[in-house]
């Protein structure tokens, strides 16, 4: 049992699974000797050798496609994109091949690749280092999209993602990489990939979020509790395929729902959740489902990025609005 940060939990899960399964290999830019620019792969090269921990040339398309090729041979590659803002060159391979290899060959070949990328804003990085475009991957059939928001969930969900026999886009909220520590047992226990996590029970409103925004959402729930509003907080975590059951059960109970995410609003994952709830819980809802999100703008550079990110006050205000109805 060790007190670890989220990024250390990622490292722990990688090391665990590499030790347990020879087919697990890791590749990406600067992940071997340097241990990754966020240190997520630190120590792996020394422990498992260059053959299984591979620094690649600088080419994201190649990283994605090489991982796909490896997977057709039964390896289980975990490919790191240094930042989510650089994943786009790999989109063709992820969309047109990783997501389709099993379907295309009627199950003859498959693609058990985990595509890891740190994502989201709030660390005052340069342009393109603060994106949250999980929606692009959630729209692609054949992909799983998984986003942990605590060290424990990072450990358990990453293990599950590596063991899963299909491709997973695993997005790590870099703002939370070192924000908190949690005691995580290195017991090899995976978490389910098809269930949202209810972090806090409540009866007046359902707050749905994921990634780094979970922090503000939980804070908002605290603030609301002081006002006498009981908020249920759900971490979606397994963004796609989406566990609508857990969300609908909660809304059936509370009758009100606020969705919080850092990504742009337009055609974001919040839209899918809101649309699904508004359709399936039509008669349960006592107020419209409201989304608190990033703006539909380019993420501002560091100096103004906080103005872009959803704040606790924005969430509280949205809840007050739906409660007033």
């Amino acid at each position: 049992m060790a007190d670890v940060t989220l990024v250390e939990a990622v490292n722990m899960a990688l090391a665990h699974e590499m030790a347990a399964n020879e087919d697990v290999v890791v590749l990406g830019e600067d992940i071997a000797t340097n241990g990754g620019v966020f240190r997520a792969t630190v120590g792996l090269k020394d422990r498992f050798g260059f053959k299984r921990v591979m620094d690649t040339p600088l080419a994201e398309n190649l990283i994605a496609g090489t991982a796909v090729g490896m997977a057709t041979q039964g390896l289980r590659p975990v490919a790191e994109f240094q930042f989510m803002g650089f994943i786009y060159a790999g989109m063709e391979q992820i969309i047109s091949h990783a997501a389709r290899m099993r379907n295309r060959t009627r199950g003859r070949l498959s693609c058990p690749v985990v595509f890891r990328a740190p994502f989201g804003g709030g660390i005052h990085a340069p342009e393109h280092h603060s994106e949250s475009t999980e929606a692009l991957f959630a729209h692609i059939p054949g992909l799983r999209v998984v986003i942990p928001s605590s060290p424990k969930r990072a450990y358990g969900l990453l293990l599950a993602s590596i063991r899963n026999n299909d491709p997973v886009v695993f997005l790590e909220p870099k703002r939370l990489y070192r924000a908190v520590t949690q005691s995580v047992e290195d017991d090899g226990e995976a978490l389910p990939l098809d269930t949202c996590f209810t972090l806090r029970e409540g009866s007046d409103v359902t707050l749905i979020s994921w990634g780094a925004s979970i922090a503000e959402t939980l804070e908002a729930a605290d603030a609301l509790a002081e006002q006498g509003v009981s908020a249920e907080v759900i971490d979606v975590a397994t963004i796609s395929p989406l566990d609508r059951e857990t969300l609908l059960c909660s809304v059936a109970k509370t009758g009100r729902c606020v969705i919080v995410h850092e990504a742009c609003r337009n055609v974001g994952v919040g839209a899918e959740i809101a649309a699904s709830i508004a359709e399936a819980a039509f008669l349960d809802l006592q107020a419209p489902v409201v989304r608190v999100t990033g703006y539909d703008t380019i993420m501002p550079y560091a100096r103004n990025e906080m103005a872009y990110l959803p704040q606790v006050a924005d969430i509280v205000e949205a809840v007050e609005q739906v409660i007033a109805l």
Binding site: G69, R106, L109
Partner: protein, 358 residues
Amino acid sequence: MKDRYAFHVDSIAYLDESGDALGDLPEWSDDRDTILDAYRHMVLTRTFDNKTIALQRTGQCGTYPSVLGHETIGTAIGQTLAKDDVLVPYYRDHAAQLLRGVTLTEMLLYWGGDERGSAYAHCPEDLPVAVPISTQCCHAVGVGASFRIRDQKRAVLCSLGDGATSKGDFLESVNLAGAWHLPVVFIVTNNQWAISTPRHLQTGAETIAQKAISGGLPGIICDGNDYFAVRHALMHALERARTGKGGSVIEAVTYRLGDHTTADDATRYRPAEELKQAWEREGVKRLQSWLHHQGLWDSDREQALQVSCRNQVDKAVEAYLATGPQPPTAMFDHLFETLPAALAGQYERLQRREVKHG
């Protein structure tokens, strides 16, 4: 002060246009049976090609890319690859794929719009056709890397067209093959055209093979209508790969004798004269002539072969046409290893809908 780094690519050929040897043939040319097999396979491939175009014209097959002019390259690939090598084909590799074990029926299913055409019962490790051009190059280096990781003495053969060499995928993969010393042989079928785009608009490079230099790989050019040249280049390259000496690039020069696909009309953009000249150089006739000159072939054998090829193809077409479509719900069957609960509703809706709408 000046230092010079020098590079080169060689171009090889063994037969002239009329099938006469330009000089000594490779040693392995003693193996007449294999060469006869090669010729027979080229004819089978061409028979299949004609038939499939006819099927398409009569609405019994989807858009189909003719293999006309590419039989020699594909046959040489298929014969040279070892069983446990892996073929990473492109969509004009019928000849190679058939030798690997893909059945004529699977091939028809694929071009007929049925996913089962890529299930490859007999060559389970070969990759399916990658429609997005050049993307298969990255898979090839991935497969090659897995051989290295597992210390396996196997080679990967990655096939692509001249157009595909302009896309980053190829160049990135060549670079990785060089940097990681991977057992990957890239064979570029330079058929002078990428749909309507002629070779000279595709690149300012004098040869395609020289693109190998960018990744530190050796490059070689061979006459793609010369069975001896293609096979010899491949044997050498694959042997290098299997014995840990690294990857390489082969440019096989040929000509696309047909339209790009059945959806294309090459007369819009291609001079008739160029096509006519290309027919003079084509590879099937050339190998036939060589066999004739050696006394290994005659018109009786030719006739018998034609009949046997037609029979084989007809049987495959029959099996193809007799294969009913998959049920619509098959679109869910291999989306994930097991159907996620989130999709159960859609699956059921589709099932119900089919029952209703027919």
